[in-house]
Structures are given as structure tokens and as C-alpha cells.
């Protein structure tokens, strides 16, 4: 069953025409160019793309962590009916953590090595919720149990270095959940982990979305992880969303030539192909984007219009595609 994108009105998070710029010595670098998407409560939206596509910058913009001189040049970010992209930093700090939790790639840098994990949890909880020390400790223990840390009471006073990679990422997720946020931004949460541990963390995120109705923006380059947990997926290329739709459609019936190339280039454990589909060349530098569609120099279907007009994201079937000549259903590149 294709899942229709939530209408912007009942979306928990709505990002509308977001553009993020970074002024550099060699001119302005536009990392995100007019990105729009929405996530409903309890939904997992996958945001995929290769390095430099702008997926992490999009996530950072939503939690208000774009480092100056980078700035949101245009667009709106609306969380639960309230605009958050123009909040002063003190107000944004309250939103971050309280309403939006964040999980990043490297669990070790997200934890303070000098404080026990119990201390870090209690502090985070008390920063956001009006609880006594004892109540906060109680909540911290139940969070640790919830993210699957065995014997939380005995690990409460241990330090991050005493935890393995997978256990650390669980602690980071517990921290992100400290104030029961309604949205979690997970940026490559499993990339630093081994496959067997990866599966555990993905199962944990899926359970959170299901049981707590937490919305998750899952940013990753790993299509396998997206296939497993996301209900919808947005594919980014050179700062734009080129295709967004139901996960099954995007993976098995891609409409954008880039999506089709990306899917064909992924080797599979289940079957062996003689050659992988190959998209020649590499993504253009963001400071030197080609005119027209940014993908046209690598696109097997490019024609004259692609070199002059950048296609807008337009409805096609159940999803949306930004392409002048999208693929028909059932055709693979």
C-alpha cells in the first residue's frame, strides 16, 4: 500500500522551500536548495544521498545547528504548527532536546568522557523536565532499560569508555529520548557500527517510532537501513530532493534516473550480478553546479531542456520527482 505524504496541515514537522548557504572565500556555497518535505507523528522518513548531497545540513537546519557563517537563506521550518527556523538561540535551545532529539554517527563524541552516563542522563532530563533528582534518576534508569541496556542500575555509574560501540549508541538514543521529544533527527546512527549491532539499533528506533509515536528523520547513505525501517524516503542530489515517495516505490520503481542509478549500483547479498550499474562521473562541487538540472552531465536521459531548466519537484503517481524525463514504472534506467 503506498503511503500518501501527510498533508502539511497535520504534519508534525513541515520543511518548506529550505535553502541553506555557507559563504566561503570563493563565493557562496548553497548546500541545500529549496528542499520541502513533511513528517507525520510516528513516521520514519529516510533522507538518503551520497556525501555532499546536503542531507546532514538539512538535518542540522531542522535542529538549528547550522554553524555561522552558514545560514538559512530562505524557507520555513514548522514544528507542530509553530515556526522554529527564526527562533532566538535561547528559545531554540529549549526546543532542541525538549521537542527534537538528535542522534549522531559517532556515539563517543556525543558523550562526555568525564561524566558517568547516569550523571549525563540525569542532567539532561532535569534541564528539560521539572523533576527532582530522585525522579530524574528513576526516569534515567527506565530510559536505559527501554533502549535495551542490560542491568541499567549497575551500569548507571559507569563512564562512556566502559561501554562498547553499540551500547554507547543506545546511551546516546536514551539521551535523545530524555525529554520524550516528538521528533528525532538520526544522522547516520548506525554507520559506525558493525552489521550485527546495526540491526539491534535499527530495531530499537523502529520500536520507538511505533510505541511512542515519535517521528524520525533518518539520514543515511545506507539504502538497506532505509528499506528496513522507513515508510517514505527522500533522495537528495547536489542540495535538492530529486525524488520522494513510498519506500517500496522509490527502491523498486524509481522514477528519477539518479535514483535508478543509485539503486542499481548497490550490490546485493541475495543475488550476484556480473556488473554493477554504473553512474559515470561524480557529484558536482556545490560551488560549481552545472546549469539546469544538476544531474544532467551524468544522466543517460538528458536532453536539451535539462541543460537549461532546473526541474521542480512535481507530483508523479504517488510520489514526487524533479525530472523533465522521468522513467516509466517498470523501467530500470
Amino acid at each position: 500500500m503506498p503511503v500518501a505524504p501527510p498533508p502539511v496541515a497535520d504534519a508534525l514537522l513541515a520543511v518548506d522551500d529550505l535553502t541553506v548557504e555557507f559563504p566561503t572565500r570563493r563565493g557562496t556555497l548553497t548546500a541545500v536548495r529549496g528542499v520541502s518535505f513533511a513528517i507525520a507523528a510516528g513516521e520514519v522518513l529516510g533522507l538518503v544521498g551520497e556525501s555532499g548531497a546536503g542531507k546532514s545540513v538539512t538535518g542540522a537546519a531542522v535542529i538549528g545547528l547550522i554553524d555561522p557563517p552558514g545560514r538559512i537563506a530562505s524557507g520555513r521550518i514548522v514544528l507542530d504548527g509553530r515556526r522554529i527556523d527564526d527562533l532566538p538561540s535561547a528559545a531554540m535551545r529549549r526546543v532542541r532536546g525538549r521537542e527534537i532529539g538528535a542522534v549522531f554517527q559517532d556515539p563517543l563524541t556525543a558523550l562526555d568522557p568525564l561524566y558517568s552516563i547516569g550523571r549525563q542522563l540525569v542532567e539532561t532530563i532535569r534541564a528539560h523536565l521539572d523533576l527532582t533528582e530522585g525522579q530524574a534518576r528513576e526516569r534515567a534508569l527506565s530510559l536505559l532499560a527501554d533502549v535495551g541496556i542490560p542491568a541499567p542500575a549497575s551500569r548507571f555509574d559507569q563512564y562512556p569508555h566502559q561501554f562498547s560501540g553499540g551500547m554507547r549508541q543506545r546511551v546516546v538514543i536514551a539521551l535523545a529520548l530524555a525529554a520524550a521529544p516528538r521528533l528525532i533527527i538520526a544522522d547516520e546512527p548506525t554507520t559506525a557500527l558493525d552489521v550485527s549491532i546495526q540491526a539491534q539499533i535499527i530495531a530499537l528506533l523502529a520500536r520507538l517510532a511505533r510505541e511512542h509515536r515519535t517521528a524520525i528523520l533518518l539520514i543515511t547513505h545506507d539504502m538497506g537501513v532505509i528499506a528496513e525501517i522507513a515508510s517514505r524516503v527522500a533522495v537528495m542530489y547536489a542540495g535538492r530532493i530529486v525524488e520522494i515517495g513510498d519506500v517500496d516505490d522509490v527502491i523498486h520503481r524509481p522514477r528519477h534516473p539518479y535514483t535508478a542509478g543509485l539503486m542499481g549500483s548497490i550490490p546485493s547479498v541475495r543475488m550476484k550480478r556480473d556488473r554493477l550499474l554504473q553512474i559515470d562521473g561524480s557529484m558536482p562541487r556545490l560551488t560549481a553546479l552545472p546549469r539546469g538540472c544538476a544531474f544532467h552531465p551524468r544522466c543517460p536521459r538528458a536532453r536539451a531542456a535539462c541543460e537549461s531548466v532546473d526541474p521542480a519537484l512535481a507530483r508523479l503517481g504517488a510520489g514526487q520527482v524533479a525530472c523533465h524525463w522521468p522513467l516509466d514504472v517498470g523501467v530500470t534506467a
Binding site: 551520497e50 556525501s51 562498547s164 553499540g166 551500547m167 558493525d194 552489521v195 550485527s196 549491532i197 546495526q198 540491526a199 539491534q200 535499527i202 530495531a203 523502529a206 547513505h221 545506507d222 539504502m223 538497506g224 537501513v225 528499506a227 528496513e228 515508510s231 519506500v247 517500496d248 527502491i251 523498486h252 542509478g261 543509485l262 539503486m263 542499481g264 549500483s265 548497490i266 550490490p267 546485493s268 547479498v269 541475495r270 550476484k272 550480478r273 556488473r275 554493477l276 550499474l277 554504473q278 553512474i279 559515470d280 561524480s282 557529484m283
Partner: protein, 334 residues
């Protein structure tokens, strides 16, 4: 059948003991990390042997042992029948090992940023055949650059002028310049984006066919190994627990750890299905469990598994180190 590369009971132990004073005063005990502990490996000319395992299983140490970057604690490595590595004489036999080269994971760290591509690519020739004339050297550099899909003009540029995928092509050109027969590739595509990974994997396959190369291909990515390898070995805590032809290993895995790994891989064809989450984690390599190292995570473990370490036994074309498989306590798919 003669093997191009043969490792016999190879082991590499690292002494990670605390300082002497801490041991005497503080009562700390000696620690030995058995990164690789008794691996037998034989590669046939022209094949690709894939080596998979999770981080810390010893696969990169094994790669470094084979090319001679580490000296083994025990065992020998032969190349074309000649011993090239044995305890205490790891770096000798330079002549014998000139047929092997290595490709590293990180194309940013493995190329000297101050050198031009021409010098980087010519380095193995300079080291192995220092009297090569400049003109011949230049010609050879241009030839290998063209082979890996770069242009002759790229020789004059510096590494920072290239993208990650192009840099990995430079690494491959460097490895090929002295015309080796055997390449050890340690996670050569792990730092690359999938579309670039596809380019590099296709290139490696084309080069193998054209130049009759033999690859030892190390990766944590099972899909990549399935794609490129003819045979696959699965490592766990310093040992190979299963080794089999690729199709057999992926379609009918025998060792419980191999099955667990395969179940844990996310797959595009199974949207919305949860993987079998694997219980537990890789144990501390400094204090491996007694008996079979996998027994604390294994659903089939019994008393024998907790005491006696299993040895590799042949089952047709596959070999598996598992008591449960031997005693037929595990149902096999095949």
C-alpha cells in the same frame, strides 16, 4: 594444484601488557592480544578470495601479515612456493614478494599530499627496480593511469585535485605499476559512496580479467564480497570459522555465526521487514571465551562448545569450524 599464496597456521600476537612496574607493584597481569590465531589460507592464481568479519576480528591484521607489514608470531607464508614470511624474518625475501601489492581503505590518508601523481604511481617501480630509465618509468605511469580510467595528463597533478573515487583509482594505479600478480585489498571501497564504489568494483573486475590478477579482498560489507569474490572466508576473533565458494556460503551458510551475519544484513528486497536482531556483541579479544569463541552468542552451544575449540573440517567444498555442524545439531539448508 599449486597455490599462488599459502598461509599455514599463521598467527600474530601483540603484547599489550601494562608497563613492568605496574605489573610488579600493581599486580597487573600480562596481556596478549591474539589478533590472528592460527589461520590457514591458500589462494589459487586468478581467483578472488573475500575475507569478511566484524571490526576487531583480525582481517586487516591478516592482510598486513600476508604482505609482510607485520611479522608473524607463528606459521609461515609462501608466495609461489617460496617462504616470504616466518617468525623473526618477516621483512626479508623482498625479491620473492615483489609480485604482491596492497590497496588501502582510505584514499585520503594513503596518498602523500606533497607528491605528484606521477611520483606516487612510480614509487613501487623505483623501490623494486631502481635502475629503470626515466623515460620507461614515465611511459609505464601513463600506461597504468589509462588502465584505471584516468588520463596521462593526470600524472602532473596532486592528490587533492581528485575526488575520493579518483584517488582510489590512483591507489590502484600505484599498486599495479610494478606489474604484480597478487593484490591485497583492505576495504578498498568502504570510504566511497555507493555509485563510486560501483565504478571501482567494476574497474577491479575488468583489471582482474585483463591482467589475470589474484585478489585477497577484505571487507565488512557482505554484499560487496558476494559481488566480487569467488570464495569467501568468515573470520571471528582471529580465526576463520567458515570458508566456502561464494554461492555456497551465501545460499547455504553452515556456521551459526555466518548465518547470524547474513541475517543481520539489511536488504533492499525486504522493505519493511525487520532483521533478526543478533543478541550480544563480539567479546573482548584480550579475554576471549574458552572453547569456541562464538559460544556465548551461539544458540546451538553446549558443554563441548564451552570447553573445546573447534577445528576447521571439510564438508565438500566448504570448511567449517563448529562442533554443532560436526555433530549435525544444526540443520543445513543445502
Amino acid at each position: 594444484m599449486t597455490h599462488l599464496v599459502e598461509a599455514a597456521d599463521i598467527a600474530c600476537h601483540f603484547d599489550v601488557s601494562p608497563p613492568w612496574l605496574d605489573r610488579v607493584v600493581g599486580g597487573a597481569s600480562r596481556g596478549v592480544l591474539k589478533a590472528v590465531d592460527g589461520v590457514d589460507l591458500a589462494l589459487v592464481r586468478g581467483e578472488t578470495y573475500g575475507l569478511v568479519g566484524e571490526s576487531g576480528c583480525g582481517k586487516s591484521t591478516l592482510a598486513r601479515l600476508i604482505v609482510g607489514l607485520y611479522a608473524p608470531t607463528r606459521g609461515t607464508i609462501r608466495y609461489e612456493g617460496t617462504i616470504v614470511s616466518a617468525p623473526g624474518r618477516g621483512r626479508r625475501n623482498r625479491r620473492a614478494r615483489r609480485g604482491m601489492q596492497m590497496i588501502f581503505q582510505d584514499p585520503y590518508a594513503s596518498l602523500n599530499p606533497h607528491w605528484r601523481v606521477a611520483d606516487i604511481v612510480a614509487e613501487p617501480i623505483r623501490a623494486l627496480a631502481p635502475r629503470t630509465r626515466r623515460r620507461a618509468l614515465q611511459g609505464r605511469v601513463e600506461e597504468v593511469l589509462l588502465q584505471v580510467g584516468l588520463s596521462a595528463g593526470d600524472a602532473a597533478r596532486f592528490p587533492h585535485q581528485f575526488s575520493g573515487g579518483q584517488r582510489q583509482r590512483i591507489s590502484i594505479a600505484r599498486a599495479l605499476s610494478a606489474a604484480p600478480q597478487f593484490l591485497v585489498c583492505d576495504e578498498p571501497t568502504s570510504a566511497l559512496d555507493v555509485s563510486v564504489q560501483a565504478q571501482v568494483l567494476n574497474l577491479m573486475r575488468d583489471l582482474q580479467r585483463r591482467l589475470e590478477l589474484t585478489y585477497l579482498f577484505i571487507s565488512h560489507n557482505l554484499a560487496v564480497v558476494r559481488h566480487i569474490a569467488d570464495r569467501v572466508g568468515v573470520m571471528y576473533l582471529g580465526r576463520i570459522v567458515e570458508s566456502a565458494p561464494t554461492a555456497m556460503l551465501f545460499d547455504a551458510p553452515r556456521h551459526p555465526y555466518t548465518r547470524m551475519l547474513l541475517d543481520a544484513v539489511p536488504d533492499l528486497d525486504r522493505t519493511g521487514t525487520a532483521r533478526t536482531a543478533v543478541a550480544g556483541e563480539v567479546p573482548d579479544a584480550l579475554a576471549p571465551p574458552p572453547g569456541c569463541a562464538f559460544h556465548p552468542r551461539c544458540p546451538y552451544a553446549n558443554a563441548r562448545c564451552r570447553e573445546e575449540a573447534p577445528r576447521l573440517r571439510a564438508y565438500g567444498a566448504a570448511s567449517v569450524a563448529c562442533h554443532a555442524v560436526e555433530e549435525q545439531r544444526v540443520a543445513c539448508f543445502a
